[in-house]
Amino acid sequence: MRAKLLALLVVALPSWLMLPLVGSIDAESVKLKYGGARVTRQMRDAIGQGMAIALLAGFRGVVADFLWIQSHGYWEKKQWLQQYRDMEVVATLQPQSILFWDEGAWHMAWNIGYAVSVDTNNVTAAQGIKRERAWHERAQEFLARGIENIPNRYELYFKMGWLYLHKLAPDCGDDLACKKTRYCEATEYLRKAASFPDAPSFVGRTYARALEECGDIGAAYQQWISMWKHGPPMSEPSSILEREIRRLEDQFDLPDNVRVFPKHPTKPPASP
């Protein structure tokens, strides 16, 4: 008995002495956003007993992957709400995963959005459009939460800008003011995405296009010029830059002396 008490004391004392170390590790984990949401009763109900056990055993990544695959199964069976529920759980389990936010929003806005719009259960075409727009808004809200969780990467800002450009702005229909507002909102996200040093060139190009849609053609021209001047060395996409700069210079009807690509060049344009 004495040995057992001694053993308990031997374990207890260092454990208590290590409390500041444990506190520091916990604080670091919170600061660096390790882990993700803790397991709750609602989560257990959503993922089922087996998955919950795996989750409790520390296999968060594997559980998230399985749920992701399961959500795709729901998509194939046209069970969109179940798919949405799974995507929500997966994003809660691994909120630091760009992939889940990105693909989840893509599923909602593009795949589910289209599927509900042509669903044979729709009584009228208007109902299909209404349902489609509801899914676009869900995607927007989903991506916004993704950005809150991962504000230091370009990907989700880009996806949000893309969503505004290709789904939310067209949803305005004939309401031009609404459309323009949404295009301008897209530029905000795309500007942020393009400001990341590791953002690929297509992000900057999309930003320029969004600026044009927003009505700020001058800023769009400046963006193309900036990409031409500060972009990487000549390559195939440079022809896109050249084409766009030429187009806008023609649109503005700029004189040859201020054009990057003069109509009647005396010497070839300075390479970027």
């Binding site: 053993a7 170390l21 444990v22 993700g36 520390g58 968060r60 060139s201």
Partner: protein, 306 residues
Amino acid sequence: MTEQTASREWVGFSLRRVWIIAVNTLTESMRQKVYNILLLFALVVIASASFFSQFSFGEEAEQVASVQLKFIKDFGLGALSVFGMLIAIVGTAQLIPNEVENRTIYTILAKPVRRFEFLLGKYSGSVLLIFVSLVMMSMMFGAEMAFKQQKLVGEVLQEEQDAAARGGLVDHQEIQRNITSIRADALDPNLVKGVILIFVKLALLAAITLLASTFSTSMVFNVTVAFMVFFTGHLVGTAKELWEHSAFARYCLALIPDLGMFNVADDIILGNAIPWLHVAKVALYGFVYLATVVAASHFIFSDREI
């Protein structure tokens, strides 16, 4: 003073004896069918992670590659953790009960070997077994990642060739960026941090199983206790959140090792920067904890009648 006590006082602690017992334990464990089957199963599961990665639904090449690599890493490191846990628990739970049952413990302890040396040797043997298993599983995992990386890079290059053949616009920078991203993602040196912490966690789990086996003669009991601690250890984080304002609860919870702390692999896979300092702190926590558990095992084992 009896003759036995006199001889015990005379024999000093020897690391050499601990090492001999450890190597012997390792050899014995590696000869066991259970271990070999578990390891074989682990290697097959890790090797099959590639099939699991086919369930990726992205549109862009980079996205598909990123999903596939994430699935392989999650699955591979998950397998490392699960099979490592099984090997650690099953391998350690039977060490002392087997020695008692086969009566070999009497022969060993009749020699000038201290009980602590015996216990430490057995534990070290178990840790060596975990280490060897993890190295083998990690090598398989590494090979799997290298293979997948080659395959994905090949696919990207093939797509480039196809696009060029169709006369489409080929963005060489984008392709180069994709290839660099795939290589960086597949051969991420940060994964080592995850494997290190899995090792420390398993060593700690082995120490807890050893503690159980010092006062119990039933292997089933030892395995059950170890599994319970494993699950409870992963719930400590949740419990801490629930009772964060209770100092009493905090002191009680400190007695159970917080195993969730060691699960940084998920975050590494997601691209979170895990500083070495954080890894060192968690490893220090694990080592201090396992040292105390081994010391506690010694107190119980030295008092035990064999």
